[in-house]
């Protein structure tokens, strides 16, 4: 089975938010809800006019990191949060008791309560939609105009993402926590 991950060439992000729209459309995410499944972080320009530091401004798209060692999974009392056969961290809404422990434990603030089901939800790499249909793309990746996102199988040495991670420097977020994120930020 695959082990899916995503590489983000985040410096190319132009904050158009097409990915957020595509995710909502593809996965039926609540319209108008902020930071549900996916978001683009904005770092404002520093300094006071006219001494603005243009390089200080940056956009950083983010979502669930699909940690290999996921705190949210460890703390879930009913195993509602689980790793699927593709290494994707998923939530089974049937089993979720809304204890919110995972929301507290996720170091990336990637989880939220879906007001319709009153259970916890987050990005699942389009597992219910695209992956389930046999496609190996995600909506956010597919739509990105500047090709920030590369989605693929980390275990396949020939995949585009493996190639990227071999040839480009990258970092992951809060890696000191031992979560082993599968979202990689290319520098």
């Amino acid at each position: 089975m695959a082990r899916y991950g995503m590489a983000l060439d985040y410096k190319n992000c132009i904050n158009c938010k097409a990915c957020e729209v595509a995710c909502k459309e593809e996965n039926g995410i609540l319209m108008g809800a902020d930071k549900h499944r996916i978001w683009v972080g904005v770092k404002e320009i520093e300094g006071e006019y006219p001494f603005l530091s243009i390089v200080s401004s940056s956009f950083e798209p983010s979502q669930c990191q699909h940690c290999d060692d996921a705190p949210c999974q460890e703390v879930c009392p009913t195993n509602a949060t689980y790793y699927d056969e593709n290494g994707v961290v998923r939530v089974n809404a049937e089993k979720c008791i809304l204890c919110s422990y995972c929301m507290n434990a996720c170091p990336y603030d990637a989880r939220y309560v879906d007001d319709r089901t009153m259970t916890v939800d987050k990005c699942n790499f389009c597992s219910d939609t695209r992956l389930a249909r046999g496609e190996t793309t995600t909506a956010c990746q597919n739509t990105c105009p500047t090709k920030v996102r590369t989605f693929g199988d980390l275990d396949d040495p020939n995949s585009e993402i493996s190639e990227l991670l071999r040839t480009r420097e990258h970092f992951s977020l809060k890696s000191h926590l031992g979560t082993k994120p599968k979202l990689f930020y290319l520098t």
Partner: protein, 405 residues
């Protein structure tokens, strides 16, 4: 076949012979109508009304009736749940002094304390049932797909077991079967301590929350449980004897006050070192949070009400001022409430998105939270429930030590 019928018979008989007083509504209304008692009665009824109102609001609006957010998913109800289960564990420790560890002086409070531990944990469960989004799902999947790495799973499961053991112990105490009471008491105590330190572990395991992560809470929870148990022991005995304690109660309470003095001193030592280590070295996400906590009035409410006032009263007369201790214990319990509230709130103070390696977002520097009316009503309702159950218990059972052995 015949055997099972016999077994059923003996179980029936066992239950039928549990000593209790037959009481009706009339007996429940039959208490001395002093102004103090009337005040407690009115407050309890008001709290129960709040409970009904709060629960009704929750049933209509769900979690929207609470002020919990994505950044602050745990609110007042979690704090109140912790408050009640800490009280329960504490009372279990106090109750065990006599009937498990065999300290004769403390036998007179065993039954009362064990009954108290049952009603407090029931009140806790009543409150948490309206915080957990899907309590029925929890009962099912706690069993069908247990999350064995989850401190919440262990805490919940062990507390369920603990309640069972406490009830069995209480029944044996009522029946003067001291041997069995001791056995179930010890088992219950161990399970309760394990459950309680797991509750500390719920916070201690949070790698993402540097302020709470580590061994501190699991051990501190046991210490503060003991302290809470002693506070409640004073309150219960104070009401029982209307502050005019008989000689044996005086001996016991003075000893308890001395133990309390030691425990509170240890607590102050613990908390001081927690803050010193949190702040020392200015580690991001820990030092700043600790300094922020030191600037909040709720922290000082905890320190003054639960630590300084009781310690002062104890040290002043070497624990002999029992009336003073009764009032100090009421202050202590208010302080303990703040202690629980602070623990829950402080854990969530720091927004997590700011802690990413590259700070990319101007998040608010602190996460704000103030409980909603519904949360407050359900919480006070839990207290009302607790007082009511305890009061019914005092009528239903003989909670004093039995004079004949």
């Amino acid at each position: 076949m015949a055997e099972t019928i016999q077994q059923k018979q003996s179980i029936k008989e066992f239950i039928a012979t549990i000593p209790f007083n037959k009481i009706g509504i009339k007996d429940l209304l039959n208490f001395e109508k002093t102004p103090q008692n009337m005040l407690v009665a009115v407050i309890t009824l008001a709290f129960l009304a709040f409970f009904v109102l709060g629960v009704a609001t929750y049933l209509m609006h769900g979690h929207h009736a609470y002020n919990v957010t994505r950044e602050h998913p745990w609110g007042l109800l979690i704090a109140v749940y912790i408050f009640f289960v800490v009280s329960s564990t504490g009372l279990c420790i106090v109750g065990s002094l006599g009937d498990v560890f065999g300290f004769k002086d403390y036998e007179m409070i065993s039954k009362r304390a064990i009954f108290g531990s049952i009603v407090t944990i029931m009140a806790g469960f009543a409150v948490i049932a309206f915080e957990i989004g899907h309590p029925v799902t929890m009962l099912i999947y706690n069993v069908l797909s247990p999350g064995l790495t989850s401190a919440i799973w262990w805490m919940g499961t062990l507390y369920g077991l603990y309640l069972t053991f406490m009830i069995i112990e209480f029944v044996f105490l009522l029946k003067h079967n001291m041997k069995m009471a001791k056995f179930f008491g010890l088992t219950g105590l161990l399970v309760g301590l394990a459950a309680h330190s797991n509750l500390g572990g719920v916070f201690g395991f949070l790698n993402a929350r540097t302020i709470s992560n580590g061994v501190f809470y699991p051990t501190y929870f046991i210490l503060t449980a003991f302290i809470t148990g002693i506070f409640i022991a004073f309150i219960m005995m104070g009401f029982r004897y209307k502050l005019e304690f008989p000689e044996n109660a005086k001996v016991m309470l003075t000893n308890l006050a001395k133990i309390q003095g030691l425990l509170i001193s240890i607590l102050i030592f613990f908390v001081t070192w927690k803050f010193l280590t949190d702040i020392y070295g200015d580690m991001p996400n820990r030092a700043d949070v600790a300094i922020h906590i030191l600037g909040s009035w709720t922290f000082w409410a905890e320190v003054v009400l639960a630590m300084l006032i009781p310690l002062f009263i104890i040290l002043k007369d070497m624990g002999k001022n029992l009336t003073g201790m009764f009032w100090a214990s009421l202050s202590g319990m208010v302080g303990v409430f703040f202690m629980r509230y602070n623990l829950v709130h402080d854990t969530q103070l720091k927004p997590l998105q700011m802690m990413k390696t590259t700070e990319y977002e101007l998040a608010p520097s602190w996460v704000n939270y103030f409980p909603s009316m519904t949360e407050i009503m359900i919480s006070l309702g839990g207290l009302g429930l607790c007082i009511l159950l305890y009061y019914v218990g005092t009528k239903l059972f003989n909670l004093d030590a039995d004079t004949h052995h």
